[in-house]
């Protein structure tokens, strides 16, 4: 049963990246495909990390590399960040820290590219989760969607929604993770008001940028997020209200079964689901 599926986790870009592939392909082929995903993400880290002195993004930022001489990927990222700055009324700002730092777009974009490549290689059932931002296709079994939780902001072991689809990107941005801030670029201070913003759509790079922009806007973000064309939203405000758009793909809550054990231990002890 395990032979038809593969699951791996690696730390890249300073974040854990989990991958699951469930196509009925030979185990060795699935290994290869997973390795290609991680190779690509490591390459992105080398080229786009602002922490690596010699990365392409740093050389571009220091003016050592003209835009015309940059890779097609970097040019695409620069252009996408400019588009997103305009589309988010300036709340998604790759220059917010005083230098060009497209990290808020690169993570989602690179996972989107990895997922598109898996699809092109014939891998129709998979998901990639990079620090909470996910691109998913297919499901655990044919005709069954992936069940993906949105973390409850104040109860780390609980989810506030379970989403399901066979083709979607999910990005969540929020203020609840310790040490993690979204800066409102107009005030230069950490945004408050919206504790958790989840954006669902087809493109993970955009979804991620929209979620970050929504958080940066604070309460005003509610109205802006409600009007995003092609993207659905689920929002938790700092006063514990929750909002969602009509098309937000929530699955019905599971009927209450036997009382679960408190804490995370019940998850670890849970039998692994059948894969494939």
């Amino acid at each position: 049963m395990g032979a038809a599926g593969l699951r791996r986790v690696e730390q890249i870009m300073g974040t854990p990246i989990s991958v699951q592939l469930t196509d009925p392909l030979p185990a060795r082929r699935l290994e290869e495909l997973a390795e290609e995903v991680f190779d690509w993400l490591r390459e992105v880290d080398q080229r786009f990390s602002t922490y690596k002195e010699d990365s392409e993004v740093n050389r571009f930022d220091r003016g050592e590399l003209a835009l015309a001489d940059c890779s097609a990927d970097l040019r695409l990222v620069v252009e996408a960040c400019a588009d997103l700055w305009r589309d988010t009324d300036g709340y998604f700002d790759a220059y917010a820290t005083g230098r060009f730092d497209p990290s808020g777009f690169v993570k989602g974009w690179s996972v989107q590219v990895a997922s598109d490549r898996l699809l092109a290689a014939g891998c129709r059932s998979h998901w990639i989760n990079a620090g909470g931002d996910i691109r998913a296709h297919g499901g655990p079994r044919p005709g069954e969607p992936w069940r993906i939780g949105v973390r409850h902001p104040w109860q780390p072991d609980k989810v506030c929604w379970v989403l399901g689809s066979t083709d979607f990107a999910i990005a969540t941005s929020g203020t609840y993770e310790r040490g993690f801030h979204v800066i409102d670029p107009y005030r230069g201070e950490p945004a408050t008001g919206l504790t958790s913003v989840t954006v669902v759509g087809k493109d993970l790079g955009r979804a991620d940028a929209y979620a970050t922009a929504g958080v940066a806007m604070g309460q005003a973000g509610l109205r802006w997020l409600a009007d995003l064309p092609g993207y659905e939203v689920g929002i938790v405000t700092s006063d514990e209200l929750s909002f969602r758009s009509d098309g937000f793909p929530v699955l019905p809550a599971e009927p209450a079964g036997p009382r679960p054990l408190p804490g995370r231990s019940d998850l670890v002890d849970q039998p692994a689901p059948r894969i494939g």
């Binding site: 699951r7 791996r8 974040t15 854990p16 989990s18 699951q20 998901w127 989760n129 620090g131 931002d133 655990p140 992936w146 069940r147 993906i148 939780g149 949105v150 973390r151 409850h152 109860q155 780390p156 072991d157 609980k158 989810v159 506030c160 929604w161 989403l163 999910i170 990005a171 969540t172 941005s173 929020g174 203020t175 993770e177 040490g179 993690f180 958790s196 989840t198 309460q219 509610l222 109205r223 409600a226 009007d227 405000t237 006063d239 209200l241 929750s242 909002f243 969602r244 758009s245 009509d246 809550a253 599971e254 079964g257 679960p260 019940d266 998850l267 670890v268 849970q270 692994a272 689901p273």
Partner: protein, 166 residues
């Protein structure tokens, strides 16, 4: 405007009836429950009271003349229902009765705390307000959340899911 208000009232009562039928007797403190309450001393409003007044043989005890229900069975005054919780939030319905007839219906979200009131006043028509749920993560494959650092990951739900299914 009036018609919309009645539609809302109808929905709230419909929801109350549906859920009431499902649960039998509402259990206090349970997640979803609907209760439309009346003032304790209210005369029971009977829909379309048909009993011809002439046939009455025993007059009801005259406790309070002003409160005597007219033919419709509805007592004049303003009556607030309890906040009814359902999928899209909490709704509170108030009806005003004049001359034995419902003269006004008003459905509002309760605004107990000032911040919520702010949000509700600027109602966001395209979003549904819901009660914040805390569901078990028992049957999910993976979890979306605000950016995790490697350190935070170690203590996270995602880490537990990865361990459980690796």
């Amino acid at each position: 405007m009036r018609r919309a208000a009645f539609a809302v009232l109808g929905t709230a009562i419909g929801t109350a009836l549906l859920i009431g039928a499902k649960l039998g007797t509402p259990t206090p403190g349970s997640g979803t429950q609907v209760a439309l309450e009346e003032p304790a001393d209210a005369a029971t409003p009977t829909a379309g009271a048909k009993a011809p007044t002439g046939k009455k043989t025993t007059a009801p005890p005259k406790k309070d003349v002003a409160a005597k229900p007219p033919a419709s069975g509805l007592r004049d005054g303003t009556f607030a229902g309890a906040g009814a919780k359902y999928d899209y939030g909490t709704i509170k319905v108030t009806i005003t009765v004049k001359g034995g007839k419902v003269s006004d219906v008003d459905a509002t979200y309760p605004d107990e705390d000032p911040t919520s009131a702010g949000v509700n006043e600027n109602a966001i028509p395209k979003l549904r307000q819901q009660v914040l749920a805390a569901q078990s993560a028992a049957k999910i494959t993976t979890v979306s959340g605000a950016s995790l650092t490697s350190a935070a990951y170690k203590a996270s739900l995602q880490s537990a899911l990865d361990k459980a299914k690796a």
